[in-house]
Amino acid sequence: VSNIELYQCSHPPKQNLNPKLQNPIPTEKLLKKSEEPAEVVDVKAFAATAAAKAITDGTTNETEQLTTDEIRDRISQEMWTQPAQDNKTPAFRAKFVKALSCGTVSVESTGVVRDVLHFLSGVNYFKIFLVVFVFFNIWVFLLVLSLMGTGFMLLGGKDSARMFDVVDNPISGVMIGILATVLVQSSSTTTSIIVSLVGANELSVHNAVFMVMGANIGTSVTNTIVAMGHFSNKDDLRRGFSAATVHDVFNLLCVAVFLPINWIYPIFEKMTYEMAKRQTACEDDCVKREFLKPYISPYSKGVASYDKKVSGYISQGYCGGQCGVSFSPGQMKAIQQVVCASNGTDCRNIHKRYEGSWVAEGYLSEKRAPAYITTDAAGTATAGFSYTCPADVDCAAGTTMFFDGTEPPIALLPNTVYEVCGAKVKTGLCDLRLLKGGLAYDRWNMSDQGAGALIAVMSLLGLCSCLLCIVYALQIVIKGAAARILRKVVGFNGYLNIIVGLGITILVQSSSITTATLTPIAAVGLITLEDMLPLTLGANIGTCLTGIMGATVVATNPVEAWQVALVHLFFNIFGTLLWYPIPRMRQIPLNAARFLGRMTTHPRIGKFFPLIYLFVVFLMIPGACYGIAMAATK
């Protein structure tokens, strides 16, 4: 009994008064319904060919061991590794040689000129153009990532600078690390910010460790967005999404293992402290060496530049004021003894925004010195800390100097206003605009929020456009011989792939670029998931170099800054050692990524699954945790 007959038996034509429905069902429709899906036909045809070939060659049929998805990956691979039909015809080459030599040389001639012209006639100039086009798009991609970071920072406003303030437990640390990295689109940038905050005593190493773990997860958002570019082809989307999410899964698994361990016993802090305890602060030539940023940053800043100082003032709590006078440690000790309670040991009373980080190396930081100190009737000044001139006092008319020469006063007079930093306190630092230059500021006269929104939208569109161009060009360039070479290189050895991923990432200083460029190639099946995992692991380790380079130029707290940079490195190295060398362990991230890839083929939610995944993993969960942490802090 054929499928058609079965279908007709189970679906007898219904009697209906509607004349349109009374017509019999056309045979074509019945045939269509009974036809096997095209994918199944392809797989069966490939399996049959492979079986026939195995019988002819007298070898075992490897296809029998493969799953349907794996067979489909092989079909795609074969399609791409077949010789590209772009060889120039002999007639074209003859014409080319004749035209370029103005008819003096023919293809049958002999000599160097003929050989050179014949060689030139065989060159595929379109492919060369596309290779240049790919490099151009990679450059624009980096520019767009930089612009996106600026756009989101401007859009987030000044309050986003306080994001790091609510880190008070490991979970919120991880979530803020994820959110910050998703917003600036670079784990290198987040890690550098974390390193500088630790260097400036604004963040403890303990909290920074968990934020670095979050930054590692957040960085994998870019290639997941890239994979979504393949939504028009179900198989490409499955492969691309698997290749992209293997990075996410690996990082999530590492955090799942190392977060509780480090929470129970701070192994990373202890280990890296022993390694970094002899590091000294950068004294001269403290310029961070960067490979690609000098070629990207001027163009990004030309469109819009973001005043990092403002966010620094906000995150470091200089909104009240910042003393511009340089005091000696002895002078700071004298100020501290006068303004802080318990004979200068408890400074919590001095300012409503006082934080523990105001004290550096046992003294109140010199930039935190007050403008004026007011003594009460008893001659004590523990409540008289102020950044502005106290009310009912004419400071312009002159006040008593706290330091007469270099000596602090022996005894304070009652009801007296002492000038410490005086008019040299800079106030209103947090009232400055975040947008400080570029076309958006100079020519378009935009507000911070407006410029942020425009640049965020523009960069998102730019990101999609770049990816489309890269994918399209790569698919033409790679086809044929290049695809066969690529297959041989990436399929040679997994450990070599780690080194390749590491090397590329060190060169471009961005794991996002490495993984985002490899994802479209994985989507067409040329890089298998098994090959993609080590490449990703290499990229993960390679991106740690940026943090290490940031630590080399830290002028204060070098040990802590080095600790954070080394934590990032060892977190990734330990993760690689845990999840890669043992084949059974390796299968955990691979299977999880395969599962996520298969979810994109789900008949109902398949095409929306990547979007749902992105929203839930990178925005909803971290955002909710951040909200809870913020509410708890308040």
């Binding site: 899906p37 095209a38 994918e39 036909v41 392809d42 489909r72 079909i75 795609s76 399609m79 086009f133 151009f136 798009n137 450059w139 624009v140 520019l143 767009v144 612009l147 028009s232 082809n233 179900k234 198989d235 490409d236 001027p298 163009y299 990004s300 800043k301 030309g302 469109v303 230059g437 570029g438 076309l439 100079d442 020519r443 523009m458 569109l461 730019g462 999609c464 456009s465 770049c466 489309l468 161009c469 399209y472 698919q475 033409i476």
Partner: protein, 57 residues
């Protein structure tokens, strides 16, 4: 190139990328439509790939 020139250059690069992407989308669609009408081209592709994004140019 001055600071403003760099901003302008960046905007030109971005616009070039937008135009290239739009061109690829339009050209890709028309190439796909053309390939789907050509039985010889169609026969070389896997069946499930025939409705996909145009890869052949």
């Amino acid at each position: 190139v001055g600071p403003e020139g760099e901003g302008d250059a960046a905007m030109v690069m971005l616009c070039l990328t937008f135009v290239s992407a739009a061109g690829i989308l339009v050209y890709g669609e028309s190439a796909q439509a053309h390939a789907d009408r050509n039985p010889e081209t169609l026969a070389t592709k896997p069946r499930s790939d025939r409705q996909g994004f145009a890869r052949e140019v």
